[in-house]
Amino acid sequence: MAKRIAVVVSQGQSASPAKRQLEEEIVGGLLMEPGIDLVLIPHLYDLKADGTGVLALRGIMGNMIVLSWLYERGARWTLDRAGICGREGLTTIKPVEDDEDEEADEAAAEADEKQRVGASRDLPNRKIYCLDLRVHPAAQPYLDEVKRIARENAMQLVSLDSGLGGFGGLAGLSGLGGQPRPEQLARYVQPTNDTALPLAGVLAPAAVMRIDEEPGRRWYPVIDYSRCTNCMECIDFCLFGVYGVDKVETILVEQPDNCRKGCPACSRVCPENAIIFPQHKTPTIAGAAMVAESLKIDLSKLFGAPETGESAEQAAIRERDEQLLLAGRQTVGAQVGLPKRHEPQAAGAKDELDSLIDALDNF
């Protein structure tokens, strides 16, 4: 049976007419396309943790294409944080300079023997394709790419329970293990207004679901588990209780809304550059594969940008201290959370346990 695919269009926060028009042209261009179901959501990153937008996306069980005003990595790991997981679908929508970077990535990957968290994660057997709407100014490349992926998708053999048809094999059931919880089943059998979804035949043109959630602006980190080595530097550095560990001691963004608006300090201290703040103005922190120059003029100097010459670590320490002050707490400077980068404590500070560990090391 041919399989439908869900296409999620995440609307930007900006009122730029060019951006709005691009979104509309993409939606318009896919409306009559057989085998495609459209889900229109507000800005992906701002969706509330358990809002209708996230619930709708979790309900999509099959392959999905997500178009958003975020870097590919930013979008992928934002979805992952929201419990919308899958394998990486490869897209041809790339910034032009990206080719060289991929070669560099591959070279680095060959030399890399580090254990990444991603290698041990059990992901659902479906693909998520993240397309960055900032790469092309026109809709056509996106329409072509969505159709290409949809064709590829339709030819794949399906092991998921996609018998329901409609919404990319959407079964109204979420959960990483694939096993529906009873309340999810109940919601599917007797949908509420929030969860009712149209079910369309396989060859019918697009069903459209529009999520009208009105989220406020959010700010929190997401972890790229293909880079993360579980070194715990972020949980040591952050003093606001954002990070935690799961049952198998894997780092996770446990309390995203504890994060301090505008502060990217943990991302700066991450040795693997695995922490993404998708809304940060620095491309590498926002998830760019490489640093792309903006096409617009940067007026920051005009509006009073100070000249800084500080290192990433100095910036992180400063940013954390600023946030501690804002929260009415004491600053800590470089004294907390940078254990591996600083001189060991004076010898006198060692206690019995330290000596024992040293002895073990020597042994």
Binding site: Q13, S14, A15, S16, K19, R217, K261, G262, Q279, K281, E293, S294, K296, I297, D298, L299, S300, K301, L302, F303, G304, A305, P306, L325, L326
Partner: protein, 154 residues
């Protein structure tokens, strides 16, 4: 009621940027007006002319935050530019004009009133008089043009 005093005018090429004289100005091209015990700020005509249509504002600090002068507090995207934004004076950030988050067009339509951007409880001592600001503009205008042209050519 007497007619309001005419604004001062600075020529940006052929464009006449107007600056009302009922307020003060910061060197980072914001106007400041003392309203109900706090300083209310917005973009002056000079900044709006360079930005043109504003599409998006975002804040990297929360209301209530204590700011140092020139501390970064957010970013802006417009038709012609994107930029970080910085505090024109030090003090406590009392509130943002939240209306602008969903619709920033007031910055273009009514920059000296409804398009106000935020309010800071602090000392306005460092702010310039309208006349002083115009002198500052005359001094930086050449540099501004070079900044813009330089980046255009990159």
């Amino acid at each position: 009621m007497p007619a309001p005093d005419p604004p001062l005018v600075f020529l940006m090429g052929n464009f006449e940027a107007e600056f009302p004289i009922d307020r003060r100005y910061a060197k980072n091209h914001m106007w400041g007006q003392f309203v109900a015990g706090v300083w209310r700020f917005g973009f002056a005509a000079y900044a709006v002319r360079l930005l043109q249509d504003v599409y998006f504002l975002d804040w990297s600090v929360e209301a209530g935050a204590s700011l140092a002068e020139r501390q970064e507090l957010g970013s802006i995207e417009s038709k012609k530019a994107e930029s970080s934004l910085y505090a024109p004076i030090g003090g406590r950030l009392v509130r943002f004009n939240d209306q602008l988050l969903s619709d920033p067009s007031a910055i273009n339509l009514d920059k000296y009133a409804a398009g106000w951007i935020f309010e800071i409880d602090g000392s306005g001592e460092s702010l310039l008089s309208p006349q002083g600001y115009l002198e500052h503009l005359a001094a930086v205008w050449e540099v501004t043009q070079r900044t813009i042209k330089g980046q255009m050519n990159e």
